[in-house]
Symmetry: C2
Subunit: 207 residues, 2 copies
């Protein structure tokens, strides 16, 4: 147990240390840093967190975080409404947006099916996805490369196939990272990329 000379400091440290990946030592360092800065620095931080937490919206179409009822991507007429990429959460949207290769829209599930954590299809934005099917021509399943991600993707695939048999359903392949040597790739990744081989010609015709 640390000896804090101030309950106010101790309370602040305990609150900071609730954040994921931040221990008490780091929390104390951050709190003391704030005490060494002008009060306005702390006010800016707490104000930004308060505003974010209380005023942020979920886009009513795709459930992306947004300052409005509709997110920038869903409002953008240049983004194709017929190509929808299903992801877990906003971090995946940011990662895909950073690649600058995708011009469709998104659908955020808010998680993946995880019976261990009590998360079934009912806790995720799946019904709302089915509501969007009429305008979707290609559904991209871009879920985590984990058992739970695979389970969720298979669940969505099976139901989407039933609901709209003619729709194209794709996924992002597992494979080597760019620059990787085969000998250092993990077995599962290499195994899946061997099974899901693609025509070599597509690797340069897509560039």
């Amino acid at each position: 147990m640390q000896n804090y000379s101030s309950k106010l400091l101790e309370n602040a440290v305990n609150q900071i240390a609730k954040l994921p990946g931040i221990g008490h030592r780091t929390a104390a360092r951050l709190a003391i840093h704030l005490l060494q800065q002008p009060e306005t620095e702390t006010d800016s931080l707490t104000g930004a967190l308060h505003e974010m937490r209380h005023n942020i919206h979920r886009c009513r179409h795709c459930f992306n975080l947004s300052d409005e009822e509709e997110c920038d991507i869903c409002r953008n007429p240049n983004r194709s409404p017929s190509t929808v990429c299903v992801v877990q959460d906003i971090r995946d949207v940011m990662a895909i947006e950073n690649t600058e290769v995708f011009n469709g829209r998104y659908h955020l599930l808010g998680g993946v099916i995880s019976p261990m954590n009590g998360i079934g299809p009912g806790q995720l934005q799946i019904e709302s996805l089915w509501g969007r099917l009429p305008e979707i021509e290609e559904l991209i399943l871009a879920l985590p490369a984990t058992t739970e991600g695979d389970t969720t993707a298979y669940y969505l695939y099976k139901h989407a196939r039933e609901l709209k048999p003619a729709m194209r359903i794709t996924t992002i392949p597992r494979g080597l990272s760019v620059g990787d040597e085969l000998e250092y790739a993990d077995e599962a990744t290499l195994g899946r990329s061997m099974l899901n081989r693609i025509d070599f010609q597509t690797t340069f015709s897509n560039q």
Copy 2:
């Protein structure tokens, strides 16, 4: 540049990323974590930070952080007022308190002399230390083992010696960490501990 779908989120991430040692990636993870928790979690965090920053005091004797005008240590009649340990900031107080071997009081300079950063003796709590000299019998200089710490300690030593020649002035030795092998100790530490050898008897008579 990250693509945030929300200015509120982006602003929160930017504020979090101002904290030392927290990059934008970690800041985004923390902000999204808060969005996934109930609003009360964010309220507890921002409330604790606000209370801490606006209501904390510096003890009027030792400048330790405190919820009152006088800190718990200075108010404690069992802590000797004649032994004062000079440290840089509150983290040092917490580190020394955790050892549970010190029963005196502290004096927090608020930093060390650092001409490179424009910090001279006038920016530190040094005049206030001289004000405490009448009641001090032993002044312990427990400053960082850096050039700046050493410079500050020497400055304090020189002036304290002039102001109160009979006072005992001590410091914490440089030496091997408990459990260290000699061969792995850095040269400077080993060199200083060789020069500042102590009577072997004191190593067990102090236990």
